[in-house]
Amino acid sequence: MSTHRFAVNVTPKPGILDPQGRAVEGSLDHLGISGVSAVLVGRRVELTVDAADEAAARAVVERLAGELLANPLIEAFAIESIAGASSTTAAPPAPARPPETAGERHA
């Protein structure tokens, strides 16, 4: 057995009404931001799967994403492997503190 961590990104399918996306676009004027369009608001689900190997783990995620996390009539999903996977069931090591450098910070 091994442990795998995934993220499932669920977004409205193209052409589906996305009033949340429209609301976000509508607020950009208030921020003085222009040139932003086609905002899609979706959902991101992260999860850990114990399985024989990564392919088996991914198959589990495919099934639960298609049947539960996304409604195929209105939503698309994409699965990505993310950090935190390990070959044991031990807790992943604490992440190193990011260096405090000037520049990009996303608070």
Binding site: L17, P19, Q20, L68, N71, L73, I74
Partner: protein, 247 residues
């Protein structure tokens, strides 16, 4: 002999008692069906009531879809049993694929609780035959996700095959425009407020007939929908088309 009609109770259902009251007023014996039990206790029809099943987490109706009682409801529907979903119950039916389409967030992004006017597009179904007229029927809505959506091909098929059961109508009684926020408050495509499956035994609608089923509530227009279901269920029992559910 009183026909027994089940009302599913999910954690978060909040219209189950109102629905049971309306059923009793219409002469039926309401039977509460707990979500954890995949058993329908021999009822002759099932209503999925309004509320916020399982907190509406993830998407309205989706967690409820996988509950034990929905396995039994799906099997019942597959055998031709009568199932009506009201508001959140409609959302559960859509997530379960028992009726076509999906209910999206209201275009206004706001929860809407107010009266609407709808027309019954068909008066020949188990859910509408006892209505004295096609409308406008005044009933309240109370939902955040009621914007009916289906792709164009599905919408066209619904229109041509009699799948549209209720439509929001404007002051003149005509189908409300998609951008008419007064008459079609959630922005439903083709003003669809309720649909019925191709077999004609499963229907869902966003307005609440049980909240408009007696004069003291301000409208009795929903009573005919409840009465239709009760009469249809009694007829189904008499014809032994479904599991006998009489007391």
């Amino acid at each position: 002999m009183t026909v027994r009609i089940g009302v599913v109770v999910f954690p978060g259902s909040n219209c189950d008692r109102d629905t049971m009251h309306a059923l009793a007023q219409a002469g039926a014996e309401p039977v509460g069906l707990w979500h954890e039990q995949a058993a329908l206790q021999g009822v002759a029809a099932v209503i999925l009531p309004g509320g916020f099943a399982y907190g509406d987490y993830l998407r309205a109706g989706v967690i409820a879809r996988f509950s034990p009682v929905m396995r039994a409801v799906t099997a019942f529907a597959d055998e031709g049993g009568l199932v009506l979903g009201i508001c959140n119950g409609f959302q559960v039916l859509a997530e379960a694929g028992l009726v076509p389409g999906a209910l999206l967030r209201n275009r206004s992004l706001r929860f809407l609780g107010r009266e609407v006017a709808v027309s019954a597009e068909r008066l020949d179904t188990p859910f509408t035959h006892a209505l004295s007229h096609a409308g406008p029927l005044r009933m309240p809505i109370a939902h955040g996700e009621g914007c009916y959506f289906a792709d164009a091909a599905t919408l066209d098929a619904l229109e041509s095959d009699g799948g549209v059961l209720f439509r929001y109508v404007d002051g003149a009684g005509a189908a409300a425009a998609e951008d008419d926020r007064d008459a079609n408050p959630n922005g439903s495509l083709r003003a669809i407020a309720g649909v019925i499956n191709a077999r004609g035994n499963v229907a869902g609608l966003m307005p609440h007939p049980e909240r408009a089923a007696e004069a003291v509530l301000g409208s009795e227009d929903g009573a005919g929908i409840v009465r239709s279901l009760v009469e249809s269920a009694a007829k189904a029992v008499a014809e032994r088309r479904v599991t006998v559910g009489m007391s």
